[in-house]
Symmetry: C2
Subunit: 227 residues, 2 copies
Amino acid sequence: MRHEQVLDSLGAAIANGTLTPGTVLRSEELQERYGASRTVAREVVRVLETMRLTSSKRRVGVTVREPAEWNHYDPRLIRWQLDGSARPAALATLNELRSAIEPCAARYAALRATPEERGRLGALGERLARTARARDLSTFLEFDIAFHDLLLAASRNPMFAQLSEVVAEVLTGRTGHGLMPPEPQPEAVALHLEVAAAVAAGDADRAERAMRDIVVQARDEIAALVE
Amino acid sequence: MRHEQVLDSLGAAIANGTLTPGTVLRSEELQERYGASRTVAREVVRVLETMRLTSSKRRVGVTVREPAEWNHYDPRLIRWQLDGSARPAALATLNELRSAIEPCAARYAALRATPEERGRLGALGERLARTARARDLSTFLEFDIAFHDLLLAASRNPMFAQLSEVVAEVLTGRTGHGLMPPEPQPEAVALHLEVAAAVAAGDADRAERAMRDIVVQARDEIAALVE
DNA sequence: GAAGCTCAAAAGTACTACTTATTCAAGATG
DNA sequence: CATCTTGAATAAGTAGTACTTTTGAGCTTC
């Protein structure tokens, strides 16, 4: 419990630049600052070290690394950035990642999904279309996330599958931030149905193309809002 | 030092399935097995926990998680898999990841690279072409890695940039495993030059297309060898 | 047989002592 | 005067002990 508190506090401080790269901390100093024991302080530093947020050297101390060295795929680091001042930049980065992965994931899903997954994907597409017509934005988002989550899982690539949280974050971040049109766009819904159909048919090229259209649309949408 | 030894040993055992998911370890047991102190054992477990390879619960012990839950982007886990029996599967997964990311990275590099980077990319392309003509496969690989590394960095997306090690691993894995033709393919070289030219010109679509052709070629090459 | 209580097991936390590596500087040596 | 050696101080690494908290399992009781 103490461990997590200290870790979150220190990690967030580093992730958001309160502690700038090159800053040196001594472990004794950390114990005092957070009123934690040596054990807790050491283990927290170990964790930060495995995330490559810091590096420890004898006789020097714990130094904060450059952002370029961080392990940017660590879920915790992503969370710290999204919850802090770096949120807009983090969302942009994650959106780019998502737009790179998903078309490829759709391709492999078309090749590897189980019959059951193909069925569920179609069903989700249908429900998506229905909630879109009803203009129920919050359940639309829910089904949208479920759709992309299932697709990533069906790609049978663990590294793709692991990005489901990232995709969920990007999708909710978009609606939550008032960056979405008041109702789901008909073309987007049609493209989701197209992806589901292509996966059902095992047509990799078609699935990839349709998903690429989806992420390109999202990309342009965001780019337009940055203007 | 002790810490790293124990971590590598235990981590590799989990990553390669010697310790199957669901296995329960007690920390005291680990101390004995590796002859390490309580401190070392605890910190190793902490690290494995942050990599989501294990989960610790009071009164139960340290249980090995399902592979689906692991943090597959952790460089250490990637290494353990590549160095173990899971190597072929890991290389396939990483190759898919790489083929998804690089076209997108090329796009953003075309939009965001510094003038200096654009120049260096062109120079690397030239050197690539020269070593290809000379059929110097090992220095060709070296420049190939440098080319992709620079491109990923120039994308200005930290999550893309971080995959440079992965790309390097995939490229060397391909040549090292005797999976490459005895000499670099002329089309691949031409495509690299095309990417460099598109980036230099700031033509995002063209850069993305050329890079997609490169990774598709690599994908088909590997798919053909699996047959 | 279900609800609740007790006990023990195992991780979590705290603290102390000792070891090792590394920096910095003073002093020796050329 | 420059350079190399040596040594002391420092801060992380490792080891070990003691205590706390949680929780699963068996037992009791109604």
